[in-house]
């Protein structure tokens, strides 16, 4: 069962954070079709957020076809997001960790690594689209 966390400083609306966390879990494979999401009461008792907010997030997910609400039973995952199959994640993670070791040895700090990663990602994706 997924556990949500809230970042009140992020400037992102609470319901959007919940939606994003469900989508991330779907992408990473930690949630699969048929899995049950926590009830509104469970989320609210854990996070201390407005129940309407949780309801809104679940409605949004239902609207996007990712979840379905079964009367009296709960809210369940109904769809998937296109993602690379999970087995590739392990090798990709290893390759990334090797690259990180090299970068750190070359003397880059965390901020520089982040900057390098985000600019390269952006430019690379832009090139592929063009």
């Amino acid at each position: 069962m997924i556990e949500f966390h809230l970042d009140p400083q992020s400037g992102v609306a609470t319901y959007l954070q919940i939606v994003r966390q469900v989508k991330d879990a779907l992408r990473l494979g930690t949630l699969d079709v048929g899995d049950q999401l926590p009830t509104v009461r469970e989320v609210v008792a854990d996070l201390a957020v407005n129940p309407n907010t949780v309801a809104k997030a679940y409605r949004e997910l239902e609207h996007e076809g990712l979840v379905v609400a079964r009367q009296g039973r709960g809210t369940f995952i109904a769809g998937t997001l296109a993602h690379a199959s999970v087995e590739h994640h392990a090798e990709l993670r290893e390759a990334f960790e090797r690259w990180l070791t090299a970068a750190l040895r070359a003397g880059l700090d965390e901020e520089s690594i982040r900057a390098l990663v985000s600019t390269t990602l952006r430019e690379s994706l832009a090139r592929r689209v063009a």
């Binding site: 609306a13 009461r41 609210v44 008792a45 854990d46 996070l47 957020v49 407005n50 129940p51 309407n52």
Partner: protein
């Protein structure tokens, strides 16, 4: 169509010669979790006391779920009210206090009440409880009535962060179960910001700002730019607050469209910033009838 949980119309309350509330008109939407914000002595406690039938209005009217709480005491069964400091009988044990509430309320749900009282021994005297435990007990008693309207007056004052979080968790859990409307008065915005979808800002006895939190945050922006004389700015409907520092000018503005002028840096506003701006003394309201503006602010 059931009546709104709380409606005030030209409500005023005077103590001796000072008006704690003056010409206050307000409607709380059903099912909302409303933050009643404002500095100390803004009139928040007075408003909640009037809603709970503990005070008589000096002028105007207040109705809760369609009834006057002073003249129709039956409506008290639908209101869960916790006063500031969670006053309870200190010599009573926790079990006695619950029994008291059970016997004086026709509708009583033991399950809801007891859920909140985990880790509290029912034989403890109320006077021996910590502030957090007493707040939880008072909330348990309020929720046990299965009320339709919950009124909390500064429930987080004198609670440590952990106790605050616990209280908020249990409040939200209770609200999720009951579908009640909630009005929480707090002078610390951070405590209520997490859960409120509607805000009412009181200062000096009148409403300075009121509305849906999301709408308010969407319609206000912080504009920063070089200091210059201000004309009208495309996209800005009204400037709420101007600040100067050196050569820089910062405006907090109500927007009605995108700001296209590139000389302005546009950023969203935090709720706390917004409330502080509307609380400023320069924004003392003129008592006049306002036409219904989309955002329902009183300025």
């Amino acid at each position: 169509m059931s009546p709104p949980p709380l409606v005030a119309h030209g409500l005023g309350k005077r103590f001796r010669r000072d008006w704690a509330l003056r010409d206050l008109t307000l409607t709380i939407p059903k099912g909302a979790i409303v933050g009643l914000a404002g500095p100390n002595a803004a009139g928040k406690s007075t408003l909640l006391s009037l809603a709970a039938g503990l005070l008589a209005p000096s002028e105007g009217s207040i109705s809760v779920l369609g009834d006057d709480p002073l003249r129709t005491p039956e409506v008290l069964a639908e209101i869960g009210y916790v006063a500031q400091g969670a006053p309870l009988y200190r010599s009573f044990r926790v079990a006695d206090t619950i029994e008291y509430a059970r016997r004086t309320n026709s509708r009583w749900d033991r399950e809801i009440a007891v859920e909140l009282l985990t880790r509290i021994d029912s034989r403890t005297k109320v006077g021996a409880l910590s502030a957090g435990e007493r707040a939880r007990l008072a909330l348990a008693l309020a929720l046990g009535k299965r009320p339709r309207l919950i009124l909390l007056d500064e429930p987080f004052a004198s609670l440590d962060p952990l106790a605050c979080r616990e209280l908020l968790q249990q409040l939200m859990d209770g609200v999720a179960e009951l579908g009640a409307t909630v009005v929480v008065a707090s002078h610390v915005v951070a405590d209520i910001q997490r859960v409120c979808d509607h805000i009412v800002l009181l200062s000096g006895g009148c409403v300075r700002l009121e509305g849906d939190v999301e709408e308010l945050l969407e319609s206000h922006r912080l504009l920063t730019g070089p200091r210059r004389p201000l004309g009208s700015i495309r996209g800005v409907r009204e400037v709420v607050r101007e600040r100067y520092s050196g050569r820089q000018l910062t405006l907090l503005a109500v927007t009605d469209g995108p700001i296209v002028d590139p000389s302005w840096t546009v950023e969203p506003v935090s709720l706390e910033e917004l409330l502080l701006a509307y609380m400023a003394p320069e924004r003392l309201p003129v008592v006049r009838k306002m036409e219904r503006v989309q955002l329902r602010w009183h300025g």
